[in-house]
Amino acid sequence: MDLRFENVSKRFGERLAVEIPQLTIRRGEFFTFVGPSGCGKSTTLNLIAGLEEPSSGTLQLGDRRLTHLPPHQRDVAFVFQSYALYPHRTVFGNLSFPLELAGLSRESIRERVRQAAELLGLDPLLEKYPRQLSGGERQRVAVGRAIVRQPQLFLFDEPLSNLDAPLRAQMRKELRHLHQRLGTTFIYVTHDQEEALSLSDRIAVMRKGRIQQCGLPRELYERPVNAFVASFFGSPSINLLPAALAAGPDGIAARIGELQLSLAGLDAKILEAGVVTLGIRPEHVRVSREPLPERWPAEISLVELHGGQTILELQLGGFSLTAVERAEARYREGEKVWVVIPEERVHLFDPSTGNRLGADSPGPTS
């Protein structure tokens, strides 16, 4: 069943925490709210769970209205960042708690717990207490407690952020597998752009309580609606440079520092903007040792090795650029190189509003 937001807003006193005029999370989707801390993503999750009530608007799950229903009648399960396991209950007791409260019989409780434990590999842990478990095991128990209830929605509030990096990567895969097996809607909150991109079917990027852009991970990466979304995704993050547009002999050209970049393919209407913010992702900047007329001369000021890749910091005429190259090229600091910025990879943003410029720029989608 789809989850629909209609004019939902949440205020804490004067402060607007969340404002979502329209959003539909489709049945069975892995949907992620992502954004920096304080952007309202966790509050949004609390609104869905019923831990908070919206100041206005309604939430609808299928044809059932969720707003003003107490949390346990919403048919949702919540996995907390801190896991929120009951410390005085064993793993079995943690998993059985929601079922006991629902008044299930002893046998069916045992059966449901057994199924969940099997699915998550918790069988050897059932008699242990949370304090005897590792971080990853606690995480799994928290997921198990959500699964036993067989809810219509799973809500995850930064469930992986307390784990160390290798474990996080592993749990990411497990969550993805779990989603495939259960086929239930997963709604996920994280501040980690990489996690969002790798896990989600669709993503909503939030900032200051509002959804900036909502779409497929690829869309957000390739067609960010504004400079914020553009710089939120990708590591190292996108190069954003001030550029002045002018009509030249071969069409439009952008002036960045002391250098010229031909943007011949652009519509002449863009010239009205005058000054723009030009965005180019580091992996799209091409670096070469061969001098060619249309290439910019640059000097490498910093080389960071990341296994198979190196991140280069380049000094050009009056500005600097970050580029990603394969490590085999063996660039060294202080080396003189040549740089190409492919026109088709360039994003243009309005420097005052940050919004995407150009005929192909989509509005905020939902």
């Binding site: 346990h72 399960a77 009951y86």
Partner: protein
């Protein structure tokens, strides 16, 4: 280990060990020693009598009366203090306007010195001029009536020490993570079930700590009763420590008085050990 190091180690420990021994261990040992003696300085009597004092203690009806009073006082006051304290702590743990002021107000009785509080309650209970009789519109001699006197002392103690219980329980409540309540609400718990399945089990270590402190305190109650009733009427409110005090300092029976002190000491020790056993288990369960 080098002998130098070993000497250094014990050398550093020695001052603290000596200090602790001189203020705690030595008096306890001396009391034990005295309890095997018949010692009455005014008559110049001082001789070793072995277990004679203990044999007498077991036949001393006044001792059994005092032990009963002590147990009754401790049980009732501690149960009331815990019940009231938990109620207040739960109320004060909620968000409301003026919470800081309310918390400070609740603590006031605890800040009053024991003897001052006892004098104050003595006036409250006064048969002729007391505010309690005035408010109830009756005339009861609270402190003079064998039926009422011990209960009056219990009420005064509850007034005085419930704030302490509130303080400890409030601290205990505040360390229970909010997410556990949220998780339990999503799992379907109502207000009572939240209390029963989250608050109470997670507060258990603190509750046991409160019980330990309060039971020990109540079992050695002295000042309140000494000021209010002096143990009367007709020894109806006489507790172990009040009786021991009278033996030791009114009749100067240092031997038998010490025997009684040892009995009180063992009584409180047994209670404490029972609590500590429970407490250790409760803390172990905590994550």
């Amino acid at each position: 280990m080098l002998w130098r190091e070993r000497i250094g180690r014990y050398g550093y420990l020695a001052p603290a060990a000596l200090f602790a021994a001189s203020i705690a261990l030595v008096p306890i040992l001396v009391t034990f020693w005295l309890s095997f003696h018949r010692q009455m300085p005014i008559f110049g009597i001082s001789r070793f009598v072995g277990l004679e004092n203990y044999r007498f203690l077991l036949e001393d009806a006044r001792f059994w009366n005092a032990l009963g009073n002590t147990a009754y006082f401790a049980a009732f006051s501690v149960v009331l203090e815990l019940g009231l304290g938990l109620t207040f702590a739960l109320l004060l743990n909620r968000q409301f306007r003026g919470r800081a002021v309310a918390r400070a107000l609740v603590l006031i009785p605890w800040a009053v010195p024991n003897v001052v509080a006892a004098r104050f309650w003595e006036w409250v209970y006064n048969a002729d001029f007391g505010v309690l009789n005035y408010l109830l519109g009756i005339k009861i001699n609270w402190l003079g009536d064998p039926l009422w006197a011990l209960h009056a002392a219990i009420l005064a103690d509850v007034w005085k020490t419930t704030p302490f219980v509130v303080l400890l329980l409030l601290a205990g409540l505040q360390v229970i993570p909010e997410e556990l309540y949220q998780a339990a609400r999503i799992d379907g718990a109502n207000a009572w079930q939240l209390f029963r399945h989250i608050t109470l089990p997670l507060l258990k270590p603190v509750i046991l700590l409160v019980l330990l402190f309060r039971t020990m305190d109540a079992a050695r109650i002295f000042d309140l009763i000494f000021v209010l009733t002096g143990g009367g009427p007709a020894n109806e409110t006489e507790t172990l420590v009040v009786y021991a005090y009278k033996l030791l300092y009114r009749t100067l029976q240092f031997g038998y008085g010490s025997t009684l002190s040892v009995a009180a000491f063992l009584f409180i020790l047994a209670l404490s050990l029972a609590y500590l056993h429970q407490l250790r288990r409760a803390w172990e369960l905590r994550g």
